[in-house]
Symmetry: C2
Subunit: 342 residues, 2 copies
């Protein structure tokens, strides 16, 4: 069928391997009858894993051999130079050639970013790629970018991130006017650094859905749909969030394990605790978009399990359906025309 | 007595006012028999509040009149120019004159920072003040700075923050070799911005207790005693933490309120939930130090209640006892001598 969606999986990337990626692929295929998946990696091992799962005859589950594998701690430059037949590189080549519509990888983020940029190139008018994901909030979720692709950003970059984040929110949530916030700090006299102040000016004049400065706690409050910052701040904020959530979960566990009575109480409230955990389950939010490329690339967490990795595949499918790169280009063109008309 | 400690309270600062500050002062006096407190602000109102609390005859609770008050949203420059008899300014003047050993304020952070710097001046060799507080961690607590005094910092500033944070950890925790981490992001190829990389070099060569890069989640893991970053990143990280904690608390509440059964379960586990909440109670961590000044200034949260404000007073008392400013100067001098000897 012409409207089939084909997703290339970097099957050798990540910390967990085929035990996670093959079941995730099979689960995604079950949920999406119009999707084909190409597992990219060591063919004998992949064939064995697919056979073991009883899926050798599945016409929508294909294998593409790649002889190399990018290590999680490998320098991006070394990976690009020495690993031209890596599962990551071949999966991205498939996207470039139009054989696949998107690539999903749980591999080395730096290498994935650099190789994606090299193979797919940037969209016209976008200078830097950005990593974007959605995070749970009190009212639903918040899209946040950049989460670590760029340590230093100027105002123009932050503007472009705002535009890309808006497009993603519109495409995925069907929210055509997402409220965009620029991450800043609240102290009056030192409000923001130069880049942030200049970006605010660009956004005020050029983006109707710009909603002003956001502070760190706004990510989780739900007053903004998209929150934009440079990759250093975004990465620290994301990791900080993980740290707080993990500490709180640990403290809850410790309190319930304190003695026989609290252990009994834990059994009684287990369903409540489980319902609560589901709401902040990071696996449900797995799958970060590498925005700004001429193609769709989704980064899964390196330690993702099959449920989490299947979510990353789902993000890829959604972005293919919604033509996210084309929509970014169209939005940027509309903005540029508007700017020239002024 | 010559070894009495005298603390000046900016009694008009903050969002809550005398209903909080007077009970907090009385509680602190009860806990610290060698401490005197000077309430600075509108004398008739203060005298009435003290009388209402039945403490008019307390020789350790004094009042010092100040005719003005800095508003929470007032620009620091305007406050400094127009409010020379504000409760904040007079409290800081008392520290400068040696009448008080420390000032505690819940007022406007920007104004407090600027006025402190103007009145007290910086310690020799310290270029920028930094806001530092302790945060709960899995193993105890972590000191973090800067939390918002400086949006842009160079390597030398980050080095000085590391030194000041080390002194505070040593003074308050009695930990002479606190492990200092430099906040950074984890992506291999883009590891850190220039300031952070240069600061790491300075720390590696000049600070024996430097323990390497930390990531956002390390704040709460407990592998570092002090974590250093610029004020933009620190403020975002702190606010992000508050946002995550508040969302999680809200989700727990919602799950327990879902139906009659969950409400019953909530009653059963109430003691466990209370014990848990106590461990992450932000009020217990209230009282941020403005480090780098020739004097001790503690910022209380603007919305602090009496318990929280009393904790900020406690921080002030501890820093007076431990001579924090003098110890910072001594440590910096030792470092400079060491550097010249090389």
């Amino acid at each position: 069928m012409s409207n089939d969606i084909s997703i290339a999986l970097d099957a050798m990337g990540g910390d967990t391997g085929l035990d996670v990626i093959v079941p995730a692929a099979i689960s995604a295929l079950g949920q999406h009858p119009d999707v084909r998946i190409i597992l990219v990696g060591d063919e004998p091992r992949l064939a064995a894993a697919v056979a073991a799962a009883g899926e050798s005859a599945n016409p929508r589950l294909n294998i593409r051999h790649a002889s190399q594998q990018v290590e999680m701690d490998e320098m991006a430059s070394a990976a690009m130079r020495n690993k031209k037949d890596s599962s990551m590189r071949v999966a991205l080549d498939l996207v470039k050639e139009g054989v696949a519509h998107a690539c999903v990888s749980a591999g080395n983020t730096g290498a994935l970013m650099a190789t994606s940029r090299f193979v797919l190139k940037m969209l016209p008018g976008i200078e830097r790629p950005a990593i974007c994901t959605s995070l749970p909030s009190m009212t639903g979720h918040t899209w946040m970018l950049d989460l670590g692709a760029n340590v230093d950003c100027n105002a123009e970059h932050l503007f472009q991130f705002s535009l890309m984040g808006s497009v993603l929110a519109a495409a995925v949530d069907g929210n055509e006017h997402p409220r965009v916030g620029l991450l800043n700090i609240g102290e009056e006299d030192i409000k923001g650094n130069e880049q942030v102040k200049q970006a605010a000016q660009l956004l005020q004049s050029g983006m109707p859905n710009y909603a002003g400065y956001a502070e760190g706690d706004d990510i989780y409050k739900g007053g903004f749909d998209v929150i934009v910052c440079d990759g250093f701040v975004g990465n620290v904020s994301l990791k900080t969030s993980e740290g707080v959530a993990r500490m709180i979960a640990e403290f809850i566990k410790q309190e319930f394990r304190r003695n026989l009575l609290t252990k009994l109480a834990a059994m009684i409230v287990m369903p409540v605790l489980k319902a609560f955990r589901r709401r902040i389950d990071p696996r449900a939010y797995n799958g970060a978009s590498l925005l700004g490329l001429r193609g769709i690339v989704i980064k899964s967490h390196g330690g993702a399990d099959a449920f989490a990795f299947a979510n990353a595949i789902k993000v890829a499918i959604l972005e293919v359906r919604e033509n996210v790169p084309e929509r970014i280009t169209a939005r940027l063109r509309a903005y540029e025309e508007n700017r020239q008309a002024l």
